[in-house]
């Protein structure tokens, strides 16, 4: 089969590799109908994760048709059309039984590696480095899905692929980010980053009852999407002196009730602190650049919530923790518990409350992946979201 493989920093290639086969009894094999490149794939593309190995198959947003099942896979059968969560969860451990699916104890074969770095392991993730299990990813014609009964959700035939695909990651991720804000009537929610997760966080915050959503980015086309689909007010941080001051002014001096950092470890900025982070990260003195997070902490009103769907991988510097403490902030974060939200969000999609396909800017073939990664990284051609269709000439 064809698969998108990682070979090094800014080096991905479409290779012909063997087809996957059933290995464990709870496995299923999926024939991919549609897959996508996620913003978090760009962290791998940019070489920020040292546990990648040449030849690793990328991708954790995918859907398709079941073609084969293991002997213990009962809920699925060949022919079922499914969408698959990016985190692999066993459904039996302490964490899964408490709906904390992405913290599953039993799906990372390299748990020891995660324990060395993070003191404990998370769930295994598709196509997301050996630290998270080294599972072959979904940017491929076929994918092996462990614990398929627990993860893969059957979707009705009348919902198109482009409306279903993002249930695998970014739609639940944006939704959980908004849910973590504990939105009350009258709340203002500020969202840093208007990429795909930011867009869905903005739309979800409105759906969960926020009176006002303020979106922050530097790309006019992304801000325009936030206005159009999320009815958000927008701040272009290149056009204001200070984002924190701007947010204060927009909220009667209080600050937003909740702040969402939908940017994560590779934030950009125009301040001295942003430059400092860039230099330190380049020299490997700091693994992550927490510019958005700092601003979120500074801007948030007293007693408010900072919700972090943006990915962080290691150490960050100069976090104003005294500010967070004295303002009594609440922090909510972590990989999305996708399983918890898929059914609920499928209903929202079916009812027309959300049209996830609104973020797609590029529809390409699997073979176009190397170009697509490059374009997405450089934000060329207004690139916001690329979907890849295997098997198209």
């Amino acid at each position: 089969m064809k698969a998108v493989c990682w070979y090094g920093t800014r080096d991905v290639r479409v290779e012909t590799v063997p087809d996957p086969k059933i290995i464990n009894p709870h496995d299923a094999i999926i024939k991919t109908s549609l897959t996508a490149i996620c913003g978090s794939d760009l962290h791998l593309y940019g070489g920020y994760n040292p546990s990648m190995q040449a030849g690793d198959i990328l991708g954790h947003e995918f859907m398709g048709e079941v073609v084969e099942v293991g002997r213990e896979t009962k809920a699925l059968k060949p022919g079922d059309r499914v969408v698959v969560p990016f985190a692999i969860a066993c459904g039996r451990c302490f964490y899964c039984t408490r709906q904390l699916w992405s913290l599953c104890d039993n799906t990372n074969p390299n748990a020891w590696m995660a324990e060395e770095l993070y003191e404990d392991t998370t769930a295994g993730l598709f196509g997301y480095s050996h630290l998270f299990g080294g599972y072959a990813g979904g940017q491929a014609e076929y994918v092996r899905v462990p614990f398929a009964d627990v993860g893969a959700m059957i979707v009705p035939a009348d919902v198109p692929d482009e409306h279903v695909l993002f249930l695998s990651d970014i739609l639940p991720t944006g939704y959980m980010a908004a849910e973590n804000c504990g939105i009350q009537p009258g709340d203002t929610v500020a969202v840093w980053g208007c990429g795909p997760v930011g867009q869905f966080a903005i739309q979800s915050a409105a759906m969960l009852g926020a009176s006002r959503v303020i979106a922050i980015d530097r790309f006019p086309d992304r801000l325009e999407k936030a206005r159009r689909f999320g009815h958000a007010d927008t701040v272009n941080y290149l056009e204001v002196d200070d984002v924190v001051d701007a947010l204060r002014e927009m909220t009667g001096g209080r600050g937003p009730d909740a702040c969402i950092d939908a940017v994560g470890m590779e934030a950009h900025g125009t301040t001295l602190a942003a430059w400092y982070d860039h230099v330190k990260q380049t020299m490997w003195l700091e693994s992550d650049r927490p510019i958005a997070l700092r601003e979120a902490i500074q801007a948030c009103r007293k007693g408010g919530t900072v919700s972090i769907p943006g990915v962080y991988s290691g150490l960050i510097d100069k976090i104003p923790f005294g500010t967070a403490f004295s303002k009594g902030l609440t922090f909510k974060m972590g990989q999305t518990h996708v399983h918890r939200y898929m059914r609920l969000l499928l209903e929202r999609v079916q009812s027309g409350a959300i049209d996830p396909s609104c973020i797609i800017t590029h529809r390409l073939r699997l073979d176009d992946a190397p170009h697509a990664y490059q374009m997405f990284l450089e934000k060329e051609d207004g690139c916001l979201k690329v979907v890849l269709k295997p098997g198209t000439a």
Binding site: D56, I57, E72, R92, N106, N108, A140
Partner: protein
């Protein structure tokens, strides 16, 4: 010997000094003492930065001789216990919470034939009688290591203690405890293992660097036991496709 394992509490030091307890065996203490003194003398003769470095290293080795404690070993989790009969052993302890009731875990562990499913270095374990079993393990360079073990103490759904029989290649003593975890959290499983390493505490440190030290092996074994008890399978990517 047997009396000791029959009363597992004897294994625990009551003086609370475990953290600074010796972890270098007697043989290695004398060797490091001699080497340390030699390095100080040689280093003093050489002068310069190399000489100073050698002398400092020598002081470190003398410290190890004097205290029987190597901070590097303790950082690596190597512990030495001394039995009432004065014999020295390496001790490893690992704990894991498993989301199943104690009786289920106890029953699975009590049937030693299940061991090769989660102890990957074992080829087979067969029952000789109700208490005794025969173990075959993969050794270095394709060799097979075999020994007999005997269950010397058991409390249903709570504890199993075993030891290797007289004349075994691999002398070891072990106990597993199953304690209900608070709330609805399953069972806290703790394994304590003592063994006499082939090349003493130094050998254990070297083995640990190559990932073959029993403490590391025990942790991965226990993790696989948890995988099987909670889900019925061990997660793996072996056999999946990848680019060349």
């Amino acid at each position: 010997m047997r009396a000791r394992v029959m009363e597992p509490e004897i294994w625990r030091k009551s003086d609370g000094k475990r953290a600074v307890a010796p972890n270098v065996d007697d043989r290695e203490r004398w060797i490091s003492g001699a080497a340390g003194a030699g390095m100080i003398l040689y280093g003093a003769g050489r002068r310069g930065i190399t000489g100073l470095g050698l002398a400092l290293l020598g002081v470190g080795l003398l410290y190890q001789t004097a205290t029987g404690h190597n901070p590097l070993y303790s950082a690596m989790g190597i512990r030495l216990t001394r039995t009432t009969s004065g014999r020295q052993r390496i001790e490893v302890i690992k704990s894991m919470t498993i989301n199943r009731p104690p009786d289920e875990l106890y029953r699975y562990w009590r049937d030693v034939r299940n061991f090769p499913r989660f102890m990957t270095h074992l080829e087979s374990v067969s029952m000789l009688d109700e208490k005794r079993s025969h173990w075959k393990a993969k050794g270095p360079a394709g060799m097979t290591v075999e020994w007999d073990a005997e269950i010397v103490n058991e409390k249903e759904n709570a504890l199993i203690a075993w030891e290797s029989c007289e004349g075994s290649d691999v002398q070891h003593w072990g106990v597993i405890r199953f304690v209900p975890a608070p709330g609805d959290r399953g069972t806290e499983v703790t394994v304590e293992l003592e063994y006499r390493p082939v090349a003493g505490s130094f050998g254990a440190a070297v083995a640990k660097l190559f990932g073959e030290e029993p403490g590391q092996q025990l942790e991965e074994d226990l993790r696989r036991f948890k995988y099987i008890m909670e889900t019925g399978e061990v997660p793996t990517t072996t056999g999946q496709p990848r680019g060349r």
